[in-house]
Amino acid sequence: MTLLSTRNLTKRYAGVLANEAINFDLPQGQIRALIGPNGAGKSTFVGMLSGRIPTTSGSVTFDGKDISALPAHARIALGIAYTFQITSVFAGLSVHENVALAARRRLGRDGAAVDAKVADSLSRVGLADRATQIAGDLSYGHQRILEIAMGLAQDPRLFILDEPTQGLAESEIADFKTLIRSLGGATTILLIEHNMSVVMETAEAITVLSNGTVLADGTPAQIRADPAVQAAYLGTADA
């Protein structure tokens, strides 16, 4: 079953085509990586999926419903969680409150359920002992991990992560791979990632964007072997 699909999704910034007629299908439960050179249009694409960036034309369908006209908050409420490429936590609030805000939108006034969800999300990413710290005082890497915990706390059906491992230490990246694999199956994941070890070890399928269009779609092995991808992204021997 397809959870998310786009048809002819297009974004034009003052004459520049950032995304051109992208057709994309994401099956329920899959871990999909979205890769491509800088400026390929990856963040624009997921921005249009989450509603953060308005589309120029084309449609987005989530769980069989056309959500193209929905504002961002309404799409999130349908079960799409989004972590920002540029860290965006509530810097003045505690780590606990950051995650509680994420959990509360769905769990509402049930304080005990919210607290349990926060504790669970923080322990899954290894931040449980920092719950009372102010988020802005955390190191950059820990703020990135807090973003992931805020996504987990929403129990999303589709979890979109925009370069989550950027700025993480090697050990944290290893933990991240384990976490993503543990979510697979239950949660559908769309991962923008530059770190090839993360992509190759977690993703079940890969979509390659280049110059705003889909260059290739396939399994990690297929993508690795694709000459067009090698030329555009991984670099060719004679480049």
Binding site: P71, H73, I76, F84, S88, V89, A91, L101, G108, M150
Partner: protein, 314 residues
């Protein structure tokens, strides 16, 4: 002691202190304090929007005046008694803040400040335009005989003091509860990072509109109570000065704290009172003190206490 009982102890303690002050303060100061408590309600309404939601309005005099004239005109022209008159004031403020909020929230930042300022100026000019009813700058007095509620004469100093205290207490406790509730915490999230709050699935526009309406209606309750307890409504209360006052009270007392508005209103009231005893140029003294406070306690008095001494201060 848990956070909830500590909050309750603080807020009930403040109310007990205010009630006790009636019995020890000389008449002049208890009269001042009654006025300050009503104005602190205005400051608390303002604080909900500015201190907790992060929206800086320069037009709250519009809501204060809507409540004031809602009550005063209903009582003066309509011959209504105090209770329905007060309700009329609340409804007037609710409607005005709903309309002004829906329009002003189409903008953000500096534009929001300017739009609210313009709305308040339009409100002030409206009061002057309908001078036949409002008596413009001169204003009008609400007859002493009409100013009683459920048979209680609100014009005696004691009744007036405790009426002000009841209104203050209700709003004070209500807001203390509200800012700890999921709704209040979402407003704080919007203040801290609206883009993130939206991407957690919160309809931030709807939350901000509710905050404007609640803030405006509380401000209107203050305006209505002021007219009822002190017996006067005039266009002065719709001027830009009365939009700036709550901003100063809240900044001085501590934006985003529950007791800041009261502290700021007391401080500012007595600053002007004492300074005017020293010189005619009393605003000069007030100005210097304000500059010093902004330099050395930019979080306001309660905000500085929270940073340095009591991090738990709500």
């Amino acid at each position: 002691m848990t956070a909830a009982t500590r909050d309750a102890a603080l807020h009930l303690g403040v109310l007990t202190l205010l009630a006790g002050l009636w019995f020890v303060l000389p008449t002049y100061h208890s009269g001042n304090l009654a006025r300050i408590m009503v104005l602190a309600v205005y400051a608390m309404g303002y604080n909900l929007l500015f201190g907790y939601t992060g929206l800086l309005s320069l037009g709250h005099a519009l809501f204060f005046a809507a409540g004031m004239y809602g009550l005063a005109i209903a009582m003066q022209q309509g011959g209504w008694s105090a209770a329905p008159g007060f309700l009329a004031g609340l409804i007037a403020a609710l409607v005005v803040s709903g309309v002004a909020g829906a329009l002003a929230l189409r903008t953000t930042g500096v534009a929001f400040m300017i739009v609210t300022l313009m709305f308040a100026q339009a409100g002030y000019l409206t009061v002057l335009y309908f001078g036949a009813i409002t008596r413009g700058d001169e204003g009008f007095v609400i007859p002493q005989a009409a100013r009683s509620l459920a048979g209680i004469d609100l014009t005696t100093p004691a009744n007036r003091y405790f009426a002000a205290l009841i209104l203050f207490g209700a709003v004070f406790l209500g807001l203390a509860w509200l800012v700890r509730s999921p709704f209040g915490r979402t407003l704080i999230a919007i203040r801290e990072n609206e883009a993130r709050a939206k991407m957690l699935g919160y309809d931030t526009h709807a939350y901000k509109l509710r905050a404007v309406i609640l803030s405006g209606t509380i401000s209107g309750a203050s305006g209505a109570a002021y007219a009822l307890l002190f017996g006067y409504a005039g266009a002065t209360f719709a001027t830009v000065q009365y939009s700036i006052f709550p901003l100063l009270w809240v900044l001085l007392g501590g934006a985003g704290t529950t007791i800041g508005p009261l502290i700021g209103a007391i401080f500012m009231f007595y600053l002007i009172d004492l300074a005017s005893g020293v010189t005619d140029a009393y605003m000069l003294i007030a100005g210097v003190v304000l500059v010093l406070l902004t330099l050395f306690a930019p979080q306001g008095l309660a905000g500085t206490l929270r940073n340095r001494v009591w991090p738990w201060l709500p």
